[in-house]
Symmetry: C2
Subunit: 248 residues, 2 copies
DNA sequence: GAGTGGTCTAGACCACCCC
DNA sequence: GGGTGGTCTAGACCACTCA
């Protein structure tokens, strides 16, 4: 079997399985036994299992010892999953919107008083570099993201022409370039709030309308705090969805 | 090496690794190479890797090809993670509270007008069984959970004495027993809202104070919708935290 | 007891990172 | 080029479910 190696076998198997599931190849919402799949796809059972474990983690299937691998159409159809999709353009796209983004502000600032967050003590610089993005869903304002990078983690002043990010990946590359530490993870907190005058104007909602705010702390692979972010989600356009596997 | 088999090897390895990390056994926030760990713990590399992959998924470490397995203290210290902990008692406990729960209402109902949710069309019974739980953090009301089970999925009327749930696991057992389908996953949506009179009274917050509501749909292993749930989190006591691995 | 997933191993070779 | 994780295989045996 000739194989052009552009991605790992288990990911190709995963893609293939999803395709087959969507096509309706499997009856009774159940996959064939693992050794059968192994035979069908010409891949060892271990590798098939890697694909299945990924699908299980994403909620697409449930692995049940003694029974089989059960398919969940309910999760396959679930859109805008914040547990899986972090790129807001992709999130909006997944929700069926035409997604675009514009940078509405960027530059140095020394006062963070507009943010009612308790900036952590590990994060007390004199100056911060601020970048604000507005994500549009079908041209309507949907997500406002305010990114704050402390001066101490930047090696040079970011260049404006490098900031027209059209994907989250590019924002991460940007951070990698200017902070000398590769980004690895983020810690987010969701909090209830009201839209103040500024937010309500930008997101075109009523003032003091309830809104969910996400505070996000980005860390590098060596655990250095690289960026703080406040994100406001349009209360009606955005659905913050996630899936949990129970019983485990 | 004698081994009492009460849990899989890779989970014991995982526990052991966490213990060693917390103890500070590893310098430079980096684990020893995988083959070294394999030798140290007397376990094959494959099994060690299963443990490491779990740790990576939970954000405790980051696996970097060519570099090593890097430890994140930032995530190890993160509390009340809704991406990992689903049992509210455990969530509160993790947050450092003394956690208790009381059932404040249960019984049949035919009107769901108090809920401003669009009950899905797959869920239009004449009668619903309703169970309300109030979770307390240090005796203060912290989480209100309203569970609604449609008549059509119940085999008999739930018995009151089986409902003093002191863990999420028991609620799942309860559902398993009365619905004839084992529970498997849930789909949650977070939405902003204001505390109405009832909610504000129960949670002891100001009326019309912004609050986050979680709507949760529970599904069985054969993808049948078994239960709908509305959950209100106290805006100040509860921190809804989650961790994302980036770059993947 | 047959069927199915869960755990575990030993070993081979590839891909990436850094010196 | 040496070190480290990533992928993949073949095979053995265990544990659970259902009839």
């Amino acid at each position: 079997m000739s194989r052009i190696k552009y991605s790992p076998l288990y990911l190709e198997a995963k893609t293939e399985l999803i395709k087959m599931i969507k096509k309706g190849d499997f009856k009774n919402n159940k996959l064939p036994p693992e050794d059968k799949l192994s035979e069908m796809l010409g891949i060892s059972r271990s590798t098939i299992r890697e694909a299945l474990i990924t699908l299980d983690r994403e909620g697409i299937i449930t692995k049940k010892q003694g029974i089989g691998n059960l398919i969940h159409r309910s999760t396959l159809e679930t859109k805008m999953r914040i547990d899986l999709i972090r790129d807001f353009l992709k999130l909006l796209d997944d929700g069926g919107y035409k997604a675009t983004v514009k940078r509405i502000k960027s530059g140095w600032t020394d006062k963070l008083t507009q943010f009612d967050t308790k900036i952590p003590s590990s994060f007390r610089d004199k100056k911060y570099f601020l970048i604000e993005f507005l994500y549009l869903a079908n041209s309507q304002p949907a997500i406002l993201a305010i990114n704050i990078i402390p001066e101490s983690v930047l090696n040079t002043t970011p260049q404006s022409e490098e900031m027209p990010f059209d994907s989250f990946k590019k924002y991460l590359s940007f951070l990698n370039k200017y902070t000398d530490e590769e980004i690895s993870h983020s810690i987010s907190k969701y909090a209830p709030g009201k839209a103040n005058q500024t937010i309500s104007k930008i997101l075109k909602i009523k003032e003091s309308e309830p809104i969910i705010k996400r505070e996000e702390f980005y860390y590098g692979i060596f655990d250095k705090l690289l960026c703080y972010s406040e994100i406001f989600f349009h209360p009606h356009l955005i659905s913050l969805t996630m899936i949990h596997k129970l019983n485990q």
